[in-house]
Symmetry: C2
Subunit: 201 residues, 2 copies
C-alpha cells in the first residue's frame, strides 16, 4: 500500500499529537503545542482535522492501537491461560517502564481521568478501550476454566477489575513519584495473585 502525501501528513499529525495529548492532557494541550510537535502551521493541521476534538480522538485511537499491538505480539502462540494472564501483566508493566509505548504514562488512565467530567467523545472512546481490555482478561479466565487450568470459583469479571485497577493505580503512584517502585511492587503482587487462581492438578 502506497500512502498519499495527505495520508502521510495525517498519520504524522496523529503520531506527534498523541504524545503531546498523553503528556499534557486534552484540556492543557494548546494549538501551539500541537503546531510545535508536528512542525505544521494551524492550517496544515486543520486541513486534516475539523477540530482539536477530532484530532484528540484520532490520537487516542492511535495510542490504544499501539498498546493492543504490544499485547497481540506478546500473546502470540501462548496457549496456557495462567501464562497469558502473566503476559498481560508483564506487557503492561514493560510498556510503561521498560520500553514505553508512549511518553506520559498510560493513555487510557490519562484519558479516563482527564475526560472524567468533560469531554464526552473521548470518554466514550476510553470506555470502549477499557471494555476491550476487560473482555480480553475475562476471556482468558473463562478459557482457563474451560480447560480446568483456573479454579471454577474464580469470577472472571473480578479478575479483570483487580488486574486492571492494581496496574493503573500503580502507574498513577509511580508517575507521581517519577519512580518505578510502585509499578514493580504491583507487578510482583499480581503475578502471585494470578498463581493463586490456578487449579491444583
Amino acid at each position: 500500500m502506497v500512502l498519499s502525501k495527505a495520508q502521510l501528513t495525517r498519520s504524522h499529525i496523529i503520531h506527534k499529537s498523541a504524545e503531546v495529548f498523553n503528556q499534557f492532557g486534552y484540556a492543557r494541550t494548546s494549538l501551539a503545542d500541537l503546531m510545535q510537535a508536528t512542525g505544521l502551521k494551524k492550517g496544515g493541521i486543520y486541513n486534516h482535522f475539523a477540530s482539536k476534538d477530532e484530532l484528540a480522538i484520532a490520537a487516542f485511537d492511535y495510542s490504544v492501537g499501539l498498546v493492543q499491538q504490544r499485547y497481540a505480539e506478546a500473546l502470540r502462540g501462548q496457549r496456557l491461560a495462567i501464562e497469558r494472564l502473566r503476559i498481560v501483566v508483564d506487557t503492561f508493566c514493560s510498556g510503561i517502564a521498560d520500553e514505553p509505548v508512549m511518553k506520559g504514562g498510560c493513555p487510557l488512565m490519562n484519558t479516563a481521568v482527564d475526560s472524567d467530567d468533560a469531554h464526552e467523545g473521548l470518554k466514550h472512546r476510553a470506555q470502549a478501550a477499557m471494555d476491550k481490555w476487560r473482555t480480553m482478561l475475562q476471556k482468558i479466565v473463562l478459557y482457563g476454566q474451560n480447560r480446568g487450568e483456573i479454579l471454577a470459583v474464580v469470577d472472571p469479571e473480578s479478575v479483570a477489575t483487580i488486574v486492571i485497577a492494581t496496574l493503573e493505580g500503580a502507574v498513577m503512584m509511580s508517575g507521581l513519584y517519577g519512580d518505578r517502585t510502585h509499578l514493580d511492587l504491583a507487578h510482583r503482587h499480581l503475578i502471585q495473585y494470578i498463581d493463586s487462581l490456578q487449579a491444583t492438578s
Copy 2:
C-alpha cells in the same frame, strides 16, 4: 475562636473552589468557574489568593484534610491491626461512593494525574499526601507484626502500595463508567487480601 470576615471569606473560597478543581482539574478550571462557584468577583478572590496556583494548593490541602479527618474518626478506638486496615479500605470506598467527601472522585488521584507533567507545586503536595497515606498503612502493618497479629514475612511497603493502587485504579474505572461496580469488586478483593496477611494463632 471567632473568625474574622476575611477568614470566613477565605475559607468559603477554598471550600467552593476545592469541588470545582476536583471535578474539572487544575488546567480546565477557569477564573469564571471559580467566580461562579464562590459567588465572588475576580477581586474578591484575588484579595485572598495571589494566584490560581495559590488557591489550587489551598484547595488541595483542604480536600486532603477532609479525607484525613474521615480516617481519623473511623479509626478512633480501633486497636486491632487487621481491623484498622479493613477500616481504611471501608472508609476510602464509602468516601467515594456512599457519602462522597467531595464531588469528582479522589482529589489525590485527580491531582496526581492532572499535575503529572505540569504543576510542580501541586505535584509536591500530592506526593506529600501520598507519603502520609502510605506511612499510615505501613505503620498499621508494623504495629500488627509487633503484636504478632500480622505475618512477619509481609512487607509493609508492599501492602501500602497494593491497597492504594487497587483502590485508586478502581476509582478510575468506576469514574470512567459512572458505576460503582469496580470499586465494590476492589473493596471485596482487598478485604480478602487483608485477611490473608493475618498470622494464624
